[in-house]
């Protein structure tokens, strides 16, 4: 989900929290892990911009090519999952007949 958010253009932790609804305790370690795996890279915002906006420079994350490939594979795997009945209730869309 975090990779997906990065691919959609989210740039920093706060952005991704809003996009995914995940907690900060999940997002920040996940970003570091993605960077360690080579699926994301991070760089510090140009200090001049931050200074102009009177706030500290932010750490921006972007998805790498390897990250994109991995995301594609992961999404295909996700799509290939068959619909499933949960707790005996059958969604009308999937009911036979």
């Amino acid at each position: 989900m975090v990779l997906h958010a990065l691919a959609r253009g989210c740039l920093y932790g706060f952005d991704i929290i809003e996009a995914t609804g995940l907690t900060s305790g999940t997002i920040y370690p996940a970003l570091d892990k993605l960077e360690r795996l080579g699926y994301a890279r991070s760089e510090w915002e140009d200090g001049r911009i931050a200074q102009r906006e009177r706030r500290p420079a932010r750490r921006y994350f972007t998805i790498t090519d390897a990250g994109r490939d991995y995301l594609v594979t992961a999404m295909e795997r996700y799509r290939s999952l068959a619909p499933v009945d949960i707790g005996g209730t059958v969604h009308p869309k999937h009911s036979p007949g």
Binding site: G13, I17, E18, S24, I27, Y28, W44, R58, R59
Partner: protein, 876 residues
Amino acid sequence: MTTRSPLRYRLSAALIRLAAWFVPKERRAMWRRQWDAELTHRWHVNRWQSCAPVGAGHLILWSLGAFAHAWYLFRTEFTMDSIWQDVRFAFRSFRTGPGLIAVAVGSLALGIGANSSVFSVVDVFMLRPLPYPEAHELASVYSTNQERGWTSLELSAPDFRDLRDRSRTLDLAAQDDATYNLSEGDEPERIQGKRVSWNFFRVLEVQPSLGRAFLPEEETVGQGNVVILSDGLWHRRFGADPSALGRSVTLDGETHSVVGVMPPKFWFEEPGNDLWTPLSFTGEQARNGHYLETVGRLLNGSTLEQARAEVAQIAEALADAFPETSAGNGARVLTLHEEFFDEGFKAGSLIATVAVAFVLLIACANVANLMMARAAGREREVALRGALGAGRLRIVRQLMTEAVMVALMGGGLGLLVAVAGIRGLVSIMPPSFPRVDEIGLDGRVLLFTAMVSLATGIVFGLAPALQTSRANLIAPLKEGGRTGTGARGGRLRKALVAAEVSLALVLLVSSTLLVQGFLRIRTTDRGFNRENVLTFRFALPEKAYPEDEQVVAFQDRLMSKVRAVPGVVAAGATSILPMWGGSGTWYSIPGEDRPDEAGRLGTSYRVLLPGFFETMQIPLVAGRVMENEDRSDGPAIIVINEVMAERHWGDTDPIGQQIEFASGRREIVGVVKNTLELGVETGVVPMIYFSALQSTRRSLAWVVRTTTAPEMIADAVQREVAALDPNVPVYRVMTMDEHLKDVTGGDTVMAKMMAAMAVIALLLAVGGVYGVMAYSVSQRTQEMGIRMALGAQRKNVLSLVVRQGTVLALIGVVVGTGIALGVTRGLSRFLFGVSPFDPAAFGVVAVTLLVSGIAATYLPARRATRVDPVTALRVE
């Protein structure tokens, strides 16, 4: 508007600052920047957006995520990758001082190896449960009698049967020693066996692997001619043939049918038992004949306390019911583990454990010193790494990794030491020690070694690591700068050396005392001459020799043949060899008024064939010894020892006096010198010697004095026995010296083991003193140079360094003496009369350590005097 309160912001910022503590130092600054930027951004979003997507109340929750993030980074520091990196770095760094690392690994190998060896023994003796199902439910019952001083006397047959029938808390079984002549197949063999009650195997919950256990009716006289074989005997005599079941074997001339074979390695109480036969209860056995050992299993979830209460109650009822034999008798219940591994084992294990722990501590102190010396030499490197951003945790981790690597290498090498150590320990244990065959290098010992190695690494690694990482980062980087840990590190190193010396002193004093005790056992004059004596034993089966006359005739014939063997100068026989155990009898002196049974006198006795005193060279003090002419048709005679004579007759002549026994009165014809028949620690006891020509014994231990090495005639005497009766097996053929070593082996285990520990401790401690002094001299090269440049003589420098080493050794000796005075008291059980505060032992050890310590400082001191002032000053 509480949602916009700056308090929320400040609280969140504080949480982030707190979480930052967990972040590795080199990443901490960046991490703080990232979180501060996010916090600021989030704060502004909340303030400016009227419908904030995440409420400001959630700001706190959001900042708690900082802890998860910090923890994640902390954890990733310790990934296998980073640990592996540290390990590789550690090995690279070892290349710079391989000698020092080798000494450290060697010290640890000795310490850890000694610990693993001792653990392998203590584990088997004290920690592992006995090899029976639910072994904690097993217990033993003994008779007690406070007035008579019985603390653990075997049960009589009637007492056992009453206890077994009445007890609701214990399923009680009994056993009695029995040795048999097994004459099945080609060769007769003396077999160690046990007679056991029918429920013996049920109580132990170990069933025969082949056939069945005994049946209740087999306890009845005439129905007990059945036998269960040990797995060893089954293999040895029957080639592990299952058809052995139902076959007949002849034990002491009587036919027994094989009904079962016990599983391999089954043992009870002592290793080496070959067969079991059922106990027979006639109903006429005496209630005061105590000979049955017991084992019981707690029934129906009863506790040991309940069993103790019930057994005491039953014993009291029996004492009331049979006052003439059992007045004052009680009962005592021990767990089976306490029964097998008594106080001696417990104390021995504890002492050994403490001793090896000391050895390991000395090794740790040694290695800590070496590592500190090494770390001090690396202060520039550490300071440089600190300056480049490595956090203190990171540096400590690297140094700890190095320490643990050294410890693990020491542990690995220690395993080799342990293999040798275990072999050595097993070799000094007498065959009577139980479970010795289980002692070895198994998974538990390996695990123990690994744990000890790791713990050791942490113990000796932590102090140097912390000290080095705390050091001043700037000073070492300056050219020629003095190091920051010098004074503090020096003090710690010296304290460690003094501690080493004191621990070594405790070990050395303990082992000196134990060795003194050991020598006392070995060299005390026992009152007889153990040299050049061959002993052997045989028993004439009742079936083949039912009459006393036949037994005596056999012994007469053999005696004349043995005496005729070339090289034999004297021969005799005794019912029990010295140190082999006791046998007691009640007696009274006619005319002395001791009406009730409780007031009866007891004494040890031996039954001898004439020639015993001459063979053992026990001098006659008065009268005469028993002669070949003292037969059953003549007057019944006895010989007593000096203590017995003093006990009743003081200065008057006991010759011609009479003593009353259950079998009748006997006349004293002679008094012989006292001997230590029961052991050095027991001392001399009153002793009565009967003649085997008047009180016939089918089983006797023969003693033969030779002019040559006694082993040379062993074959000849065995041939003489076989010539008289080929079905009589001769056993325990050995010299008297071997016999004494065999029976006192258990008493000397501690001395031998502690002597080994002490030698290791001395080596390590002296090595420690040497290491510190050598390092200290190398650090002070410049100072020495300046001193000498300013006019100090070589001898001044020499005495300066030696004095420093002497002071350390002296402090160690004084502190160690204090500790040893408190410790040696606990050894008294193993000292056999040597005082635990023996001033000679303390003095010799103190002087040895001082001299060794001074000697260890002498070499570095000499090196100090060779410092060339010009070279030393050039560095300044």
